[in-house]
């Protein structure tokens, strides 16, 4: 018996026009937390899908050995029987079902087809306790925040007697507290003997929890590092991923700040369903030309709600307040008016709200501003192709061609398509909601460079982010939100991790 619980040998996987994996090797020791790192599109998710049987035996070449035995999974069910459980990059819970129903979906506690609800509830309670989630098993999943949903996913995995837990970017959508919580949980499970593979672009997390780390680049294994022996720093990991040193995480920029270009006054928004609940409470802020303004806040602080309500009133009811651009009040009562007035909003939910997954890259990029590539009402496809090719190059979208359907792109590359789409729309004010979620360090740097460039061109940028280092590294001025109110405004020099955190949790501001 080898010391490895899992060995993947010489895995090669091809999609039409793309070799996603080429002769990849992965060895995971029993009881360790093994991190998988690599740029967007390096093949991390694909490798894990091969392992868990999403891509069945025969659609790839190479061998999988689990606990010394050769595995030829036909589907996920078979890998789950052996205790290999995967939590996918995109949450796969059903919002209309309760926590308990979700956890035991496909694995119902039943006798002869009749579900034993009492047992289900009891077991759910146990599992929720294990993951530290204080919610009733009957709560609908749709009513939970992303952080809690992620915990439900983990509870679901635990209900299946996991030996090897695979987490594909589990913290990408979580704020720091929730991430912290999840990582602590992972370390706890490790103590109990569980093995885990974690994919993440957040290198500080990886340094914190991983025992060893395998780096993929362009579908090939680059190296496997032992975190304790090799004394691995974050810069060392980046070097492996990118193939060169990356000295600065945030590109330098000389801010060139002008007049106020955008101003929001007395903005109030109510919840779309619960009519009395105020989601945004008397918010006032402004952005100047060439300025990058950050909005920090915890999950649920109302940042996305604020952004979306400004962008064509896409969120909320009974919205009141005024919006000014260059000193004149503008009408943003629907999205097309907002776009015409030069506002763009890059959503945090690229799959649900950002992309038309069944359409190709080109059509997605031009959708919000088709008249730019049209004569009157007729789309000039040649021009459209040329334009979208430009963005493919500029944002380095990794794809065989711009005719690739966006559902086939890796998560990070999908994000780049969404960004392209809104840069294409040539806005004056660009609202970015978690623009680097799920994006690798190299690409992050590129995206920061692009954001800086846009600011340099005189646009106003509003950056919503849950990653404080990103806010601190990028913004000239920072607003902090808590429970729908702005609880503070800090300049670049004043802002630190600590005082931001303090404002983010400052619930009592006014009498």
């Amino acid at each position: 018996m080898s010391q490895f619980i899992l060995e993947m040998r010489g895995i090669t996987k091809e999609f039409p026009g793309v070799k996603a994996l080429e002769n990849v090797n992965l060895q995971v020791k029993e009881g360790e937390i093994h991190a998988l790192c690599g740029e967007n599109g390096a093949g991390k998710s694909t490798l894990m899908k091969v392992l868990s049987g999403v891509y069945p035996y025969g659609t790839y070449s190479g061998d999988i050995l689990f606990k010394g035995g050769v595995c030829k999974f036909k589907d996920i069910k078979q890998s789950e029987e052996l205790g290999i459980v995967i939590i996918h990059q995109e949450l796969a819970l059903i919002p209309y079902l309760s926590i308990a129903e979700n956890i035991f979906l496909g694995n119902e506690q039943a006798k002869r087809g009749v579900i034993n609800w009492n047992e289900t509830i009891v077991k759910t309670k146990e599992l929720l306790k294990k993951v530290g989630l204080n919610e009733s098993p009957h709560t609908l999943v749709g009513n939970l925040g992303v952080g809690k949903q992620q915990l439900v996913e983990i509870a679901k995995a635990l209900s299946k007697e996991v030996k090897l837990l695979i987490l594909d970017e589990p913290t990408a959508a979580l704020n720091e507290d929730d991430s912290e919580n999840l990582l602590r949980l992972l370390l706890e499970f490790k103590k109990q003997g569980m093995t885990a593979i974690i994919i993440s672009h957040k290198l500080n997390e990886i340094s914190k929890v991983a025992d060893s780390i395998t780096i993929l680049r362009d579908g090939k294994t680059i190296e496997t590092l032992d975190m304790r022996k090799d004394h691995v720093t974050e810069d060392r990991i980046i070097k492996g991923m990118v193939g060169r040193d990356l000295t600065n995480r945030y590109p330098k920029r000389e801010p060139n700040i002008g007049e106020v270009i955008f101003e929001v006054k007395n903005w109030n928004v109510y919840h779309p369903l619960h009519n009395e609940r105020k989601v945004i409470d008397d918010v006032n802020f402004y952005i100047r030309k060439g300025e990058i303004v950050g909005i920090a806040g915890l999950m649920g602080a109302g940042r996305t709600e604020l952004a979306m309500s400004i962008f064509g009133k896409s969120y909320g009811k009974k919205i009141s307040g005024q919006i000014f651009k260059n000193g004149y009040e503008i009408d943003v009562s629907d999205v097309s008016k907002a776009i015409e007035n030069g506002i763009a909003y890059v959503t945090e939910d690229r799959k649900g709200n950002g992309l038309i997954l069944m359409d190709d890259i080109r059509k997605n990029i031009t959708l919000s501003r088709l008249n730019k590539v049209a004569k009157k009402f007729v789309v000039d496809e040649n021009k459209e192709i040329v334009e979208s090719e430009k963005y493919r190059e500029r944002l380095k979208i990794k794809t065989p061609s711009i005719f690739q359907k966006t559902e086939k792109l890796s998560g990070g590359n999908q994000q780049k398509v969404v960004l392209s789409k809104w840069i294409f729309a040539q806005p004056d004010i660009l609202i970015l909601d978690e623009p680097t979620r799920g994006i690798d360090v190299g690409a992050k740097y590129e995206i920061y460079t692009i954001i800086n460039q846009l600011a340099q061109d005189g646009k106003g940028i509003l950056l919503v982010s849950s990653e404080l280092p990103e806010i601190l590294g990028m913004c000239d001025r920072i607003y902090v939100m808590c429970e729908g109110r702005i609880t503070g405004e800090l300049s670049r020099d004043e802002a630190t991790q600590e005082n931001l955190m303090k404002l983010m949790t400052k619930t009592e501001v006014r009498g």
Binding site: P16, D218, G219, S314, V335, F377, S401, F403
Partner: protein
Amino acid sequence: MQMPTQKTMTRHSEPIEPKIQPFAQMIKNNIRSYSMVVALVLIMLLFQLLTDGILLRPLNVTNLILQNSYILVLAIGMMLVIITGHIDLSVGSVAAFVGALAGILMVQHHVPMIVTVVLSLLLGALIGAWQGFWIAYVKIPAFIVTLASMLLFRGLTMVVLKGQSIAPFPKSFQNISSGFLPDVFHGKNIHLLTLIIGGLLSILFIWLEIKKRNNAKTYGFDVIPAAMFIGKLISIVVVITVFSYVLATYEGIPNILIILATLIVAYSFVANKTIVGRHIYAIGGNEKAAQLSGVKTKRVTFWVFVNMGVLAALSGLIFAARLNAATPKAGNLFELDAIAACFIGGASAYGGIGTVSGAIIGGLVMGVMNNGMSLLGLGIDWQQAIKGLVLLAAVAFDIYNKNKAS
């Protein structure tokens, strides 16, 4: 970050950029529409053999067009509805209702034909607006709204007709469905005008294709090899020529074919080339994302239903003119034929996918089968059963293809 270096991807990072999709991929992307064309041709050949050559006789080809015109008109509108992710079950009833009112106006009140036609189309638009309002703005599922309208307008048809048929229509109205283009050149045994139109169409087609190709070249895109391009031109010209010859040896071009051709060209253009077309597809692909991209999702959905109403009215007129009567039973099950045509022609039941030409091909597959089976003397009973199986087979084939591709 460097560009990917795998062999399979290098072809895309060659220096001359940008590139249009490679030919093989183009074929692959279009495999569904091509395979349906192939299926249509095979079905035609099959019945041509089984019926000892009756199927493609000039008389029968003309008949085929006349028989299927009203379904094809519906299928065009239905395709747009299905692309936006909705369905319309009411079109048969709406067609009947409009036909009935047209009958009352023209036959009982002697309203001039042109006025009647305009009023009928307006009525169709109004009915479409009624449905569009509930579906787009009140957000009631289209299935329910149009199911209600299906009952509503079938009932109203019987009410206004008092259970009776109205006939006959004036000759001018009948001509919509049974008239032919007059031969201004007075050919002896052959309809000269038809041949001339065929020739002109061929020239127009060649000109458009060459223009498109040159345009692509100036942008530096890949174009299909010259030999293949010429082959494509020749085969299309042959089809046009043979088709117009067949029609010319009978009575020439039916009026209805001109209406149909205009609709097909216009709607294909709108769907493929215009901003509105893009918006329609985007709504079906992901309504939320479309809305956040500035697409006026409600308004577009509303107008798609208005359009469907107009085409349903047109279909009702064509059917009434062909039957030379307005009957309470008119348009029965038309909705199902139109929907089947769309799905056979490659529409996705989830929205976002489908083409106008697909709907036409799907409609023709059904039409040729109806016609061929009738020629063979098969009863309506068997025809229904076989059509059902064909629908299922077509969609299963579609899903098989998709799975293979991914």
